[in-house]
Amino acid sequence: MRDSTNAISIANLTKYYGRTQALDNISFDVKRGDFLAFLGPNGAGKTTTINVITGLSNYQSGTVRVFGYDVTKDYRNARRLIGVCTQDFNFDPFLTIFQLLIYQAGYFGIHSEEAKHRAMELLKRFQLWEKADARYRALSGGMKKRLLLCRALIHDPEILILDEPTAGCDLELKFLIWDHLSRLNKEGKTIFLTTHYMEEAEKLTRTIGIINHGQMMCLGPKEEVLRNKSLEDVFMEITGIE
């Protein structure tokens, strides 16, 4: 049954890689339309959480729902609602970037004509249209980042999950991506963002969650989490990093 309040609901999620516990009984909800910064040091469990939500990781116990759809039992409905911008450039190396978006739209059940229209629109919006016939390897790092966003958005998902989308970007590209993310959130998309840039999280998001050693350390509205401190101070206090 579709849940119209919570975009993501995670309850008692536990995940092991062999004997190493990556997620320790974490529970939290992300409200529809929210912009969440999901922060934590390297190896804290951010990408694992994303992989569980998107179906790229199995887990040992707990439940994960996307708009009420269980990501394991009702994975088709859950995945239809998610757009993922991964950390890696995991594109098909044999396709042009235009073909890449057309195929991606097709997997989501979008007709060819509509797919072409959407791909053109997105490539123009992210200033990649002139590279439409190029293969992704011919693109610069910044262009590849934008292409990841285009691919995540091609099926017009309700939730956008971004795993460090601005890592390694120059200032100009960072601002461009920030601008797009703010606009998408205003249009009603729920955004789940992981980043190591505190400034990015502080500037863009409304809710802050911090994970450390696989445990949720805090989650709440930005103002409540910060309490007149900088995010960097709060982050260092919670994670114990000096």
């Binding site: 790229l56 594109f91 991606q104």
Partner: protein, 259 residues
């Protein structure tokens, strides 16, 4: 069946991608087996065939090896296509494009199989057309041929996917083909009828499933078989269902696909 396919556009898209992938590199994927078949037919069928004391009356040696070559290339093309496609997808991590989509696991497997089946059938048809240069003959049982072509391509496309899931590097992808499938294909009767083998090898051939698949194909093309047709057809169906089931199960479990 209708319930199993809930995303027909997604399935068609994946199938199209798999078919286009081997068509655009036809120099590597389509022409080599056709050229090697032409050589086999000329050397074994024409140059050496006339000197072989062939034990089946009313049939030339060339006529006998044509369905064997069709089956051999059907098997290798189906296997190579799915094995290469899935392993490259795992290697570049772009298999995630499919794994993140709302395709069911059954649809994912079916879409990936489409490339192997299409390539296998294309190669097999081409080998038959080439054979017409040397020996003009029709297909004895066309419907039986459709059945066996489809079953064999499904079986070996599934085995290709399983090999790609199991493999950790490019060398491992081809291990099964080199050490298991190709020897079993040759011993299965590409170039010889059962009667030409010494008794112990004849007995051993009864335990080689590829021998039954080969016999079914041979019956379909030239009307001759070493084995009971129903046994061959039944075994082909059981193998196709079993390998299909195992492949979908491993996709569902995320074996080497999900962390």
């Amino acid at each position: 069946m209708l319930k199993l396919i809930t995303n027909p556009i997604g399935l068609a898209t994946l199938a199209k991608r798999e078919i286009v992938r081997f068509l655009v590199v036809s120099v590597q994927t389509i022409f080599p087996p056709w050229i090697s078949s032409l050589m086999f037919m000329y050397i074994f069928g024409i140059a050496l065939g006339a000197r072989v004391a062939f034990p089946i009356e009313g049939m030339s040696y060339l006529q006998f090896i044509i369905p064997g070559l069709m089956t051999m290339h059907l098997i290798s093309s189906s296997y190579e296509n799915t094995a290469a496609s899935l392993f490259i997808g795992r290697w570049h991590n772009n298999i995630q494009e499919v794994l993140l989509s709302p395709l069911s696991y059954f649809e994912m497997v079916l879409g990936l199989l489409a490339g192997g089946i299409a390539r296998g059938i294309l190669i097999c048809t081409g080998v038959f057309c080439i054979s017409q240069i040397f020996f003009r003959q029709g297909i004895s049982h066309p419907l039986v041929l459709v059945y066996f072509t489809l079953m064999i391509s499904v079986i070996f496309s599934c085995i290709g996917l399983l090999a790609a899931l199991w493999a950790e590097d490019f060398g491992m992808v081809n291990l099964w083909n080199v050490y298991v499938i190709f020897p079993a294909v040759l011993l299965g009767g590409v170039f010889h009828p059962l009667a030409m083998l010494p008794r112990p090898l004849q007995i051993l051939s009864h335990f080689n499933p590829i021998h039954y698949l080969m016999s079914g194909m041979r019956y379909a093309v030239i009307g001759y078989s070493d084995q009971n047709l129903f046994l061959c057809a039944g075994l082909a169906l059981v193998m196709a269902c079993a390998f299909g089931f195992i492949t979908v199960y491993l996709f569902k479990k995320g074996y080497k696909l999900r962390s």
